[in-house]
Structures are given as C-alpha cells and as structure tokens.
C-alpha cells in the first residue's frame, strides 16, 4: 500500500515497518503540562500518540486541544473522535480545525454511552455513527467536499482509522464488521486489548481469507497488567475483553511486589508472539495511567529504535 497522506504513521506502515502507537488521556482540568509530560515520556518510543476523546464519557480536556499541543511539540497525534457528543456540523468543523494544525491521523469511534460517565443525565447526539464518520472524513479528504456537498478550501489530509474488537459478541459478525469498516474507507485499525491470542489469530485468519488484510493495517492492541487485581477486573468486569484463566493465575501466583514486573513481561511476550503473526502491522500499546512503562515495553520487544521516514 502506498501512502496517500502526509501522515508519518501511514508512511511508516506503507514502508513495511511495524508501527508503534500509544495513547494519552487528557486531564480533568486545563493543565496542559499533564499531556506534555506524558508525551515526553514516550515520544521517542512510538510513532504516533492517540489522544482519547472524553473516554468512558467522563468530561476531560478536549482531544483536539491536546492534539494541537502534541503537534506544537513536533509529535504525531492521532485525534480520537466519538460521535456521541457532536453532530455532523461540529465533527466536520473539528476535523477542519485539526487539519489547520496539520494533524494527519483520526480515529473514528462511537464512544461509550454517557450513562457510564460523569454526566449520566445528559443527552447524546449520535447524529452519525462511527462507520459514517469514516465515510465523512474520507469524503472530506478525497473529494474535498463537505457532507452538504460544498467544496472545502484546503481539505484535510488525514489517515483514517477505527477501532475493532475481535472479542465482542457475536463473534461471527466481527470479520463482516471489519469488512464493512474497510468498505466505508478505513485505512488502519487499532484493536481492543488482546489477551486471548488464539481467538485474535482466528479473527485475523478469517479476515485474511477474505483478503481484508491487504486493504487495512491492523495494529494489535496490548495493555500490561499492573497487578493481579487488574487482570481479574479486566476478565470479569470489562465487557468485550477476554483474559484467559492462565494469565490471571500467572499474575495471582506472582508475589504482590513483583506483579507489575510480571505484567510488563507478559506484555512483551505477547508483542513478541504477535510480531510473527501474519497480518499484524504494528502495535497500539495502551498502558493505562502507566505511560512510564511504554519505553521499556517497546525496547524489550525489539521495536526500538523507531524508524524514521520522509
């Protein structure tokens, strides 16, 4: 696949390198230091940094503002956008705002339901869905047109991504859903945290059998366990995440003070395993409120130094 946008992430993937991305959650306040600190911790170890958009429906600093900050630091942001809070006017407007700062990556999501967050009594918008947001960005970029049909002066040049969860129900729909996102125009996928390797590989194989893997870059999502408690929580409480019993046991059998180390070790093993799996084109390392571990994980997984592209 040839790069179609100025996105550094796309160029790295197009050149055949395994890409590495990570993410930062904006603060619940207006202190941009939080973002610059997190970004400085990981910037040399990743190709692009996702900024989440009011994740779990908890009100935070805007993703766009934090992305602009990364851009001003000379880094490569991935603007996450959920369709929960903005209608098609606001979404297109923010896409243009991002494009004005030459933000070249966008991740199209529907967003968690507001009942989980700090404003459960609020309205949601869902004027369009994530599939249609993918179409919208592609239309703005490729045809240089707004949804209303008018021309855009200086259209956005964005590499368009979306999420995929191979573990959500029903499983039979997961590959057709990927195909549908590809048909909508998605170019890269960051997956939900993978712990069940077998199921993930089955999903990839089914996607490969349909020829989908030549049409999209799949970045495998990984998240290190900080503790045995977290492993149990992810297994039992987070919908759409599958944690095999042996991993929970391995964490539980490790003495408490050694658990973080063991969690990182598991994560590195997973990356090393997935590197050899056909169709995996990179990694999305989600170290939740544990960004300081990203460099070690990347380095020990043999993904450091990061390539440079023109």
């Amino acid at each position: 696949m040839k790069a179609k946008t100025p996105s550094k992430l796309e160029k790295i993937l197009a050149a055949g390198h395994l890409a590495v991305t990570s993410e930062c959650g904006p603060p619940r306040g207006s202190d941009m230091e939080v973002i610059t600190e997190k970004a400085n911790l990981i910037k040399d170890y990743v190709d692009a940094i996702n900024i989440t958009d009011n994740q779990t429906s908890v009100t935070r600093m805007s993703s766009l503002a934090a992305c602009i900050q990364l851009k001003l630091m000379g880094l490569e942001p991935v603007l996450q956008m959920v369709t929960r809070d903005r209608n098609r006017i606001a979404l297109q407007s923010d896409i243009l705002g991002a494009a004005s700062f030459d933000i070249h990556n966008v991740l199209c999501l529907s967003g968690d339901h507001q009942s989980f967050g700090d404003c459960p009594t609020g309205q949601n918008v869902h004027d369009i869905d994530s599939m249609q947001l993918i179409q919208t960005v592609r239309m703005m970029r490729d045809q240089g047109k707004f949804l209303g049909g008018d021309d855009i002066k200086r259209p956005p040049k964005m590499f368009v991504g979306a999420a995929a969860n191979p573990f959500a129900d029903p499983f039979e729909i997961r590959v057709p859903r990927l195909a549908k996102k590809i048909a909508a125009g998605v170019e890269f996928i960051q997956t939900q945290c993978i712990y069940n390797m077998e199921k993930f590989e089955l999903w990839l194989k089914m996607a490969g059998d349909r020829g989908l893997l030549e049409k999209v870059y799949i970045l495998a999502g990984v998240t290190p366990f900080k503790s045995a408690g977290m492993a149990k929580y992810m297994k039992n409480r987070v919908p759409g995440i599958e944690v095999p019993d042996e991993l929970v046991k391995r964490m539980a059998d490790t003495p408490k003070e050694k658990q973080p180390e063991e969690g990182v070790k598991i994560c590195i093993e997973q990356i090393q395993h997935l590197k050899e799996v056909e169709g995996v084109r990179g990694f999305h390392v989600m170290a939740i409120e544990w960004e300081e571990m990203v460099p070690e994980i990347v380095e020990k997984s043999g993904l450091y130094p990061r390539p440079s592209v023109e």
Binding site: I128, S130, T136, N165, P170, I173, P176, K180, G240
Partner: protein, 218 residues
C-alpha cells in the same frame, strides 16, 4: 400506542394544592391500555386527592371524567358546558391530550397527571417497551424489522458497537442489543451494506412536524 406512567401523587398535590374545584380528566385510549390515565386511574387519583384535602381541613371539589380521547376536538367539546365549574384540570392523557386541552380551554390551568414516556407495545400486563421514536422516515424495511433508532442506546445505524455483550446492551443487562436481535432472527444477510447517513430533518431535529393530507381534508 403512546405509553405513559403515573406521576407520583405528591407531585400532583404540589401542583393543584391551591385550587378549589378540580376536574380529573382521563383518556380512554393509549393511557387506559397502559393503566396510567384511564377511568380507573382517574378514580384512584380523585379519591386520594379528596381525602388529602379533607385531611387538610379544606373543602375542595374533585370530580372525575374520562373522555374517549383528548387529542380530538369533538371529544374535548363534550366538557365545554362543565368547564366553568372548575378552576383546574388534571389531565391524565398523554402530552398530546394535555396540550390540546390547554389550547382549547386556555382560561383554565391544565396540569399533567402522567409522564408520557414513549411509543411502545404491551409485552405483558405491567410491562411496556419502546418500539418507535417517530423519526418520520421508517427504515424497518432494511433493518430486518428491528428499529435501531429506538432500540439501540446510541441509535447506531451500522451496529453493533463494541459494548454489545452476550446479546445485551452495554448500558443495561436487561436491554437486548438490537443488532444481536437481528442476528438471532437470522436477518444479517445485508449486514455489510453500509446504511447511509440519516436525514434527521423528519425527526425532532426538523422542528415541530406536521402531516398534511389534502385529499382527506374537508
């Protein structure tokens, strides 16, 4: 039908406590079927209000009446002769009936006695569930007879979202995921066709709506 739920009696008392001649006005249509505002509910509310006022040492007239409908001129006209006997009406009709009453008899304060909830069906007695949001442009033909606008918490036209688990919606384990229902009904043949961006102008977004049928107008 339009599904409504009874308002707490204390809330109604708070609204009408300063009146002296109150008519409790029921509706014999949807709100009767969902047991929120029919003749019986009128009786219960009226009896409770009469006792409340007596107990407060106040003489308040609380009368009962149930109309065939409150969303049609002809039925609302039936009470024109008696309206001057009241200084307040508590309408147990849906929001449509309450407003139609208020428009017609604007000199008399009209209070709602129910909370109008949604367009739904009676699954069994005592259980009513939503089926339609009256978006003004029905897409059921291409969604296997299951409406994602009313039955998906994010009204996603290309679902399911990542929060669907074991057939249930992420917001509540008692709510079926509309998209998984489609799968259960084996109606996913057209799943990969992308549903295009919806025109919401026929929905609430387009402002108050009208249906005009000149062919049947007099």
């Amino acid at each position: 039908m339009i599904v409504a739920d009874r308002k707490p009696i204390e809330e109604i008392i708070e609204e009408v406590k300063n009146h002296e001649k109150i008519l409790i006005l029921g509706c014999n249509e949807c709100v009767t079927v969902c047991e929120a505002g029919g003749k019986k509910e009128v009786g219960v509310l009226a009896s409770a209000l009469r006792m409340y006022f007596l107990n407060q040492g106040r003489e308040v007239k609380v009368d009962e009446k149930t109309l065939e409908r409150q969303c049609d001129h002809e039925y609302l006209e039936e009470i024109r002769d008696v309206m001057d006997q009241y200084d307040a009406v508590v309408s147990l009709a849906c929001g449509v009936g309450v407003q139609f009453m208020a428009e017609k008899y604007h000199e008399c304060p009209i209070y709602p006695g129910v909370d109008t909830c949604f367009l739904g069906a009676t699954e069994k007695r005592g259980l009513w569930t939503e089926r339609c949001q009256a978006c003004g442009q029905c897409i059921l033909a291409r969604t296997g007879g299951i409406c994602p606008v009313s039955r998906c918490a994010k009204r996603i036209l290309n679902g399911p979202c990542g929060g669907s688990a074991k057939g249930k919606c992420e917001i509540n384990k008692e709510i079926d995921c509309a998209w998984e229902l489609l799968k259960a009904l084996d109606k996913l043949d057209d799943y990969e066709k992308i549903d295009s961006i919806k025109d919401w102008s026929t929905d609430r977004a387009g402002g108050p709506r009208k249906v005009v049928r000149e062919d049947v107008q007099e």
